[in-house]
Amino acid sequence: DVKVTQSSRYLVKRTGEKVFLECVQDMDHENMFWYRQDPGLGLRLIYFSYDVKMKEKGDIPEGYSVSREKKERFSLILESASTNQTSMYLCASSSPGRQLPGSYTFGSGTRLTVV
């Protein structure tokens, strides 16, 4: 069964900490995405990547960075966590294929609380 795996389901961090959220996919997908989901705001795109070592900003990149050193792994980094980054973080991957955009496969999500 194909999978997108997020390293933690729940995470509690302190304000000012550097936080790493890891996402691994086993489908050899080129595209990977990080979203955050908040009540009333839906899913908002933070960063995405079309290839190894490639990244592009989404709609809300401020306070975040990403790393994609290998095709299967896409990491989201909170440089200095703040309470307004408390949220559900969702990683997804897709393959361009013949239908653009392709369907996404999502991880189970990481619920991050910054205290």
């Binding site: 839906g42 969702l90 955009p101 189970s108 999500g109």
Partner: protein, 113 residues
């Protein structure tokens, strides 16, 4: 940048009834997709309909697309309690071939046993 918007925001029905959710979008698209999210979990892809298709079926799901009205609907027939979830439509970002999706805010469906 909001591309897809679902309507209604919340829907409550009895088991066995049909549930209809609507999605409107603003720019031209390559395809439109519907996803489901159980509480506290990731989204699961349900169905994709291309811009040149008008209707598509998958089990108890029926999706229609009207590109002239820039709208789509998802119909779940003979609903079950297990269909309780949030449902999202997703479309291309600005209609380009980017592979990037923009999601609506979702319709929360409650199916009462």
């Amino acid at each position: 940048s909001q591309q897809g918007e679902e309507d209604p925001q919340a829907l409550s029905i009895q088991e066995g009834e049909n549930a209809t959710m609507n999605c409107s979008y603003k720019t031209s698209i390559n395809n439109l997709q519907w996803y489901r999210q159980n509480s506290g979990r990731g989204l699961v892809h349900l169905i994709l309909i291309r811009s040149n298709e008008r209707e598509k079926h998958s089990g108890r799901l029926r999706v229609t697309l009207d590109t002239s009205k820039k709208s789509s609907s998802l119909l779940i027939t003979a609903s079950r309690a297990a269909d309780t979830a949030s449902y999202f439509c997703a479309t291309d970002a600005q209609g380009g071939n980017t592979g990037k999706l923009i999601f609506g805010q979702g319709t929360t469906l409650q199916v009462k046993p």
